[in-house]
Assembly symmetry: C2
């Protein structure tokens, strides 16, 4: 049993090989963690097997390939898919096993999943993950909630996935998804700031070079930031002007639910959500910039003219 939790010989299960999950498994493999991987589409499973993961054909196969106390990391869309997968996993696991949910989910769902798991003696961790498609190279920020005494058993995964000082245990179940939700709310506001910035630059009486402004702000200004650097890259791409000002944000409802649940005052976030939902012909450059920057960090799809 101890065997599986030794850093040198750790093997975990990983479900969900999307934009985030696939790269996370690759980073785990790079850090000598053995991974048994499953994904609904087997193409992704084959692809990750070529990089050293062990392929699983279904959840039972995945669990069957895990030794001792089993750890299964879920990296699936929040909501129904995550919910159903947890329910399918539970009968396959035993007391003391661990489920980690890395989705962008409402913290209340983590509390619910934690209780469900606890009723069977299984430990549940919610882990917010940030870093987008660049995480493979730069590492992933991990924000973790769950049973504190068990955290040491999953910490080797954090050390593999995160950069230095890039992960934190924040409290009981829900705390991880919550801190990630707050991160995403700040992200919405930062992007809204950049959107208002480029709109202002565009509205000046003299033509201002937007790519140059975002470049000059990069090395030493007060607003230097990764999103600013990505805005600079996005503005320079030849297809920038073809990107439709349409922002496909699946997390809006979950984030608004979070603000409401903790009764917090978040007016700039509310503004940001309104802009993302706005279908008018106003604020086109701002909305296009948000869509373009989201493509840069998250690989989120954009539509084009």
């Amino acid at each position: 049993m101890i065997f599986n939790f030794s850093f040198k010989f750790m093997r975990i299960g990983f479900v969900g090989l999307g934009r985030m999950g696939f790269n996370m498994v690759e980073r785990l493999l790079d850090h000598k963690i053995e991974v048994v991987a499953y994904n609904r589409s087997q193409d992704k499973v084959k692809a990750i097997a070529k990089k050293g993961a062990k392929a699983a054909t279904d959840l039972a196969d995945l669990v069957g390939q895990l030794p001792g106390r089993k750890i299964v990391w879920l990296m699936l869309p929040a909501g129904l898919v995550t919910d159903q997968t947890i329910k399918k996993l539970l009968p396959l696991l035993r007391r003391g096993d661990i489920i980690i949910d890395g989705a962008n989910d409402f913290y209340g769902n983590a509390e619910r999943h934690s209780k469900l798991c606890a009723s069977r003696g299984i430990y549940f961790f919610d882990c917010g993950v940030s870093g987008g498609i660049w995480g493979l190279k730069n590492g992933y920020t991990l924000m973790i909630g769950g049973p504190k005494a068990q955290f040491k058993f999953i910490e080797p995964l954090c050390l593999a996935l995160a950069p230095k000082n890039g992960y934190g245990y924040f409290g009981l179940a829900g705390a991880g998804h919550f801190v990630k939700s707050v991160h995403n709310i700040v992200e919405y506001i930062y992007l809204q700031g950049l959107a208002e910035g480029v709109e202002l630059l565009q509205n000046f009486k003299q033509p201002i070079n937007l790519a140059k402004a975002t470049q000059v702000w990069g090395p030493a200004s007060v607003i230097r930031s990764w999103l600013l650097d990505l805005a600079h890259i996005a503005l320079k791409r030849p297809d920038f002007k073809k990107i439709n000002p349409k922002i496909d944000s699946v997390t809006i409802d979950e984030l608004r639910q979070t603000v409401k649940a903790v009764k917090s005052y978040a007016p700039a976030f509310e503004i940001a959500t309104k802009i993302r939902r706005d279908k008018t012909n106003k604020f086109i450059l701002g909305k296009r910039t948000i869509a373009a920057v989201r493509r840069e960090f998250g690989g989120h799809s954009v539509s084009k003219k």
Copy 2:
């Protein structure tokens, strides 16, 4: 005349040795630019003379110590002080001399000053400066407007003050202050984002360690940024909870004037200005965080309980 514009033997005048100006002169001196410095309070002049600047007792003395085509950099509060200083300088200068205004001013004032200078054959540049009290070490972001053909004569100063890729010429007079104003507007929104973030964290049902959250977000999250790093530092300071939630933003009116003048839609910025002016007991942690982070980057004073 060419002599003064050779990088190796450049000597300029510098008026205003406040939090920004003093360090900028020090950085110029470090880059082998000779500086004749004047400040209303002579204490500052004596202090900068110890670091290698030439002291001036008044504007006439300053101009008298400059060779050939003279360059005078103003780093004064926007408005009356800058205005009066330009008017006092003009009779002391000759055709072809250059004034650079580094204040945080409304772009319309740069246009006005440019015309006033042009009427006497003097060239005027407006130069937005960002980087706060850390600029001495990291370099200053410079955003420049003015007569393009003359820019090469002041570019050696940009190379000395800015980090790599950290300065840009943006257009005729006004463009420099304008791009800086937009930078500051984005800064307001970024700070509002961090303020809403810490408020959310505080309102969670479990106690969340704010210093830890802002630390964990630092190395690899999507919102990694200098202001976030400074928020982490500010939150850890022993006096953080004593800081009054009072934000002394002298630039609000100038920035609102900018948004209005270019008829841009900047709703999150409007939210940020309302929060800064709010005197109620709401959003205390958010306002305190903004005040504390401004102290970190700009040395802006805070009041304490």
